[in-house]
Structure formats: structure tokens, C-alpha cells
Symmetry: C2
């Protein structure tokens, strides 16, 4: 039960829901453990879950012409899913890879949609989650449009310095939309400070 404390808190932070609704919801959550290198989903599969990370971290990426492009990273306390596929029920174009030992709680699609239909707070939570996802994507899009590689690195450094120390150059560079070599060079400039 204490396994579910964190996700409960995260959901209640979106919108408080009656304890009775929460209990019914929590009964159908699935606790899962993953090893580094495992996948929550692979390209071509339809996303069946939204995961909450009790512990661990993940990388969402897709492959185009044999090259990997990282869309996002998630960490302890985040919700993760191949959201596009979860919404549209189309096969996912993204992979979600576990970057370390991870404890996650899976919210099944079916459960969530029952919740959407049964309770007002269902769609409320769904709306707030979708809005939060939208904001992340818009921010990143604006950065990609208007900033140079170096500016994007600098922006990330101030906005999310943890990322830069935790994530490999290879993954970070594909998130920033540049090659590892370029990131290495940019990094050198900033190391002097």
C-alpha cells in the first residue's frame, strides 16, 4: 500500500478526489519492476498503460532512418507513457527504454477510461495531464525553432541541470537535436567556467 503513496500524492496534486474513488482506482493499479535496458513499450505496439515512476528513469525516443531521436526523459515522480499511441490507439512510433533499475506503477488504459466515464474527476485528471504534456511539447518546439544548438544546451543547463550530469552525451545530444560530437564540443566551452 505504501507503494502507492507517491502516485496518490501526484494525482491529488492535480486535483483532489474522494477517498472512495481513489481506493477503487488504486485496487486496479499494477506494481511493476524493471531492469536497466528493459522497455516499457516498443515501436509498433499500442500503448496500454500510463506509468508512474516510483523510482528510476526512462527515455522516450523514436528511430528515423536508423538514427535515434530522443523526445523526453522521465524520472522519479513523473508519469510516463507513449502518449500519442495511448490517446490515438495507433501503434507507437516511440520506444520507452529504462535507463536504470525502475519501480513503476502501471495505470491500465481500460481502468483510466472507466474512471473517465464514471467520475467527474476522471476526465479532470485526464485533462490536466494532457495540458501538462502539451506544455512540455510546446516549450521544446519553441526551443528547437528559435535557439541554436549551444543556446539549447545553455537553456537546459539552467532549466534542468540534473539532466546534464545524469544522462549520457549520446542521449542528451539526440534530445537536443544535435550530434554527440557537437555536444562534446559545446560542453568543452562550458567546462572552463
Amino acid at each position: 500500500m505504501s507503494d502507492f503513496q507517491k502516485i496518490k500524492q501526484a494525482l491529488f496534486q492535480l486535483t483532489p478526489i474522494p477517498e472512495r474513488e481513489w481506493n477503487e482506482f488504486a485496487d486496479n493499479l499494477i506494481f511493476k519492476n524493471f531492469s536497466k535496458g528493459d522497455y516499457l513499450i516498443r515501436e509498433g505496439q499500442v500503448e496500454k498503460f500510463i506509468y508512474f515512476l516510483n523510482k528510476g528513469s526512462t527515455r522516450n525516443y523514436f528511430i528515423k532512418d536508423g538514427k535515434e531521436f530522443t523526445v523526453d526523459f522521465h524520472f522519479e515522480g513523473d508519469f510516463v507513457t507513449a502518449y500519442y499511441s495511448f490517446i490515438t490507439r495507433e501503434p507507437s512510433s516511440v520506444f520507452i527504454e529504462l535507463l536504470e533499475e525502475t519501480e513503476a506503477i502501471a495505470i491500465p488504459y481500460k481502468l483510466l477510461h472507466e474512471f473517465y466515464n464514471k467520475y467527474q474527476h476522471g476526465d479532470r485528471i485526464g485533462r490536466l495531464m494532457a495540458e501538462a504534456q502539451y506544455i512540455k511539447r510546446l516549450r521544446k518546439e519553441m526551443d528547437l525553432l528559435s535557439l541554436t544548438a549551444e543556446e539549447r544546451y545553455a537553456a537546459l543547463m539552467t532549466k534542468n541541470p540534473a539532466l546534464i550530469s545524469t544522462i549520457s552525451i549520446k542521449h542528451l545530444s539526440s534530445y537536443l537535436g544535435i550530434q554527440p560530437e557537437s555536444l562534446s564540443r559545446i560542453r568543452k566551452l562550458y567546462r572552463k567556467n
Copy 2:
């Protein structure tokens, strides 16, 4: 009343709602006319509306270091808003400019949130709108990450050829994340076919 037929249809396509709820909602909608060059919102203002376009078209853009970057275009039958600001209640970083004579229906923030609170279908509609917005942003982000300028143009040409004939080079190029001169050159390649 017939003014509201199109928006009613658009909303019902998201999720059907009881006629009574619709009527209450429709009573508080605001019909507005705009001229080419007007603005729905400017940088620094907090977004008070979601607009539905009965007729006309708009451009969402932001300015960084004196340069314009276009995030999106909208046309007849679309919902338009500075969504980031609408959600967060923070001052908008985007402008929304009218590209032609436009008839729009404004949904006030307050009305929408009353609707969210009062009816299950409120948040449902909000969720579906947010999900749709998310999908647009993710698609564009993936294109910016993984495609070259020319590939982005080619993709747009097949996905939305109307855009290419309607929108000026200047606006289109800032949407694709390139300079007008570059778009002009890319276009020349494709003119031969």
C-alpha cells in the same frame, strides 16, 4: 443562431453533450468579427478565450531576438487560442494574428471553467481538446528533430498542401524553422515537377 452551427458540430464531434447543456453553453458564447492584421492576443496578455473560426485564418507566432517564429496556423473550423497562457494563466509569449477577414466565436475562460466544473462533459471536452493539441505539438517536434529543412517542406506538402499555396513564404519559412531565402530555393527544386 445559425452562427453557432459550426462550433456546435465541432464540439459534438469531440463528444456529444445533452442539448440542454449545449444551450446553456451557447448562451454565453461571443460572436466576433476581425479584420486582416488584427490580433486575437499579443505577447504579455493573459489569454481569456478559446476562439472557434467560423471563417478566416490565423497565425500563432512568437518573437525571439527580434525575429518571428511561427508555431501554427489555423483555419475555418479550427479552435485557436494561446493555449499555454490559457492553461497556465501566465502572460502569453505568443501573438495570434489574423491573416484575413475572420468570423470567430469566443469561448470565455470563465464560461469554459464553469462548464468544466458543472458537467462531466465539460472536462471531457477539455481533455479531448488538450489531447488534440498535444498531438499537433509532438508531431511538429518530431519533424523538427529528425527532418532536414527540405524534408520538412516535402512532408508539409503531402500532409497539408493547402498551407503551401495559401501562406506567404515569409510565414511558412518561419513555421518550418528556416529562412525565407532557403524556402525559396527549396521551392524551386519542387517547381520543376
